[in-house]
Symmetry: C2
Amino acid sequence: MSNVKKIIECVPNFSEGRDLEKIEKIVSPFRGKDGVKLLDYSRDEDHNRLVVTVVGEPEAVKNAVIEAMGVAVEVIDMTKHQGQHPRMGAVDVVPFIPVKNVSMTEAVELAKEVAKEASEKYGLPIFLYEKAATNPTRENLANIRKGEFEGMVDKIKQADWTPDYGPAEIHPTAGTTAVGARMPLVAYNVNLNTNDIEIANKIAKNVRFLNGGLRFCKAIGIELKDRGIVQISMNMTDYTKTALYRAFELIRIEARRYGVSIVGSEIIGLVPMEALIDTAVYYLGVEDFSMEQILESRMME
Amino acid sequence: MSNVKKIIECVPNFSEGRDLEKIEKIVSPFRGKDGVKLLDYSRDEDHNRLVVTVVGEPEAVKNAVIEAMGVAVEVIDMTKHQGQHPRMGAVDVVPFIPVKNVSMTEAVELAKEVAKEASEKYGLPIFLYEKAATNPTRENLANIRKGEFEGMVDKIKQADWTPDYGPAEIHPTAGTTAVGARMPLVAYNVNLNTNDIEIANKIAKNVRFLNGGLRFCKAIGIELKDRGIVQISMNMTDYTKTALYRAFELIRIEARRYGVSIVGSEIIGLVPMEALIDTAVYYLGVEDFSMEQILESRMME
């Protein structure tokens, strides 16, 4: 019986969304390994990008990720890559996410180990980002990636943009990579019974961090044209500090001033159970609840 | 990598809550076995009773339970047993509960296998109950157990009370046992800001099945004297059909007519995550949500 089993998640993004043979090769290091569970991989032809979701024991996940990075460096040629999603390398970005019994400090440590080993093995320049960033300018992935693959040739030679690991020049075919650590993202959208995008935009501004709203909430207004309604589309960047229900209730309050109401919401992709348990505990006003009371939580110990 | 891993829960109740040495012997078959996880065991001296909670693969759990039943038959002497909780045997009751990728039909099948094997091995008369019951009179455990250990000597000889397995007479020291299958119970209590027990009793009647309320809800009113408030204490007997939030909202509606309101609620012991996810999905109005979106759910596959 194992005690305190550590579980980390990794969501590497690779710049290949079309060639199924190459995709299978990149994914294969995540299959059939003890301590590694491939939860999902999805490719997008327009983005020309592959997003893999894997969980497991930190050491086992680390080794599988490094192996897959090597495959991607080998099979992807960025000089020929086109796609709608911004990208700067064959292995574009590798975030590590603490799931169970892993601290953010440990996730950052793991990101650094992966960055170091992969840069040495494959001659890849690697930037650390988000919680692993070595300076504030590098926290935001968009800042690092600005200029994309084509622009990185020169950018990487600037004093400000020396990579954290590896050579100060791009890999000729694999470009550059960002490796980091972050909290789990929850993609959470709230739908309103209006087709007025201005209302959605105003509410999005009120709830998001950028304009004075909730600390761990990014939000934009979007139109759902086929349904004739608008949506507040959010990324909850730390549900342990900015709870889903808080964003939901804030949207409800803001919507009221426009005579508009919430018609429903959506959770896109995976969500850690705690994000929803937390919400249930709030609405039911449960006193003294502990996550240890969740049957499934005990089963994973 | 295993596909579709089946997980069953078993919560056997043994008639020993005082002798720690005997308790350790009874619990020991659940320790250190592949495919079996001992989640909890708690004894109560007044009840003189031990409740074990174990989960795991059906076959492994079955074998461990049969082994523990054997130990209990050996170490417990019902002719000397006294305690506040009703009981009819050394192994008083053994419910199997589907947790993941197990149907109720499979849980019933497992209960029957355990009943058959244990009755043959230990000469125990065994009744099947709840979902495993062979007739409606035996669905309710209280009906079977009525008369308790002392009364079973004669009761078991009546035509109506021939056991489903084993001899038609009690085991001289271990009495009789009930083995069955049921949905997970959720012990859920809602607190009101009044000390008037009559209000709690009336609301309990309105929400419980017995008096015309929710199908899978048992409820009583109780006083929390130290806090000066009352509580609707509930057993939710199938949260997949009678959701927790429905009982909560119904209590809120009923409380309103007495000018009383809910001050909080409590979940006692373990709760399957789905019972709370379901509640969060309701309050947030999440559209098209699937349990497969829960990260932890995917990790256990």
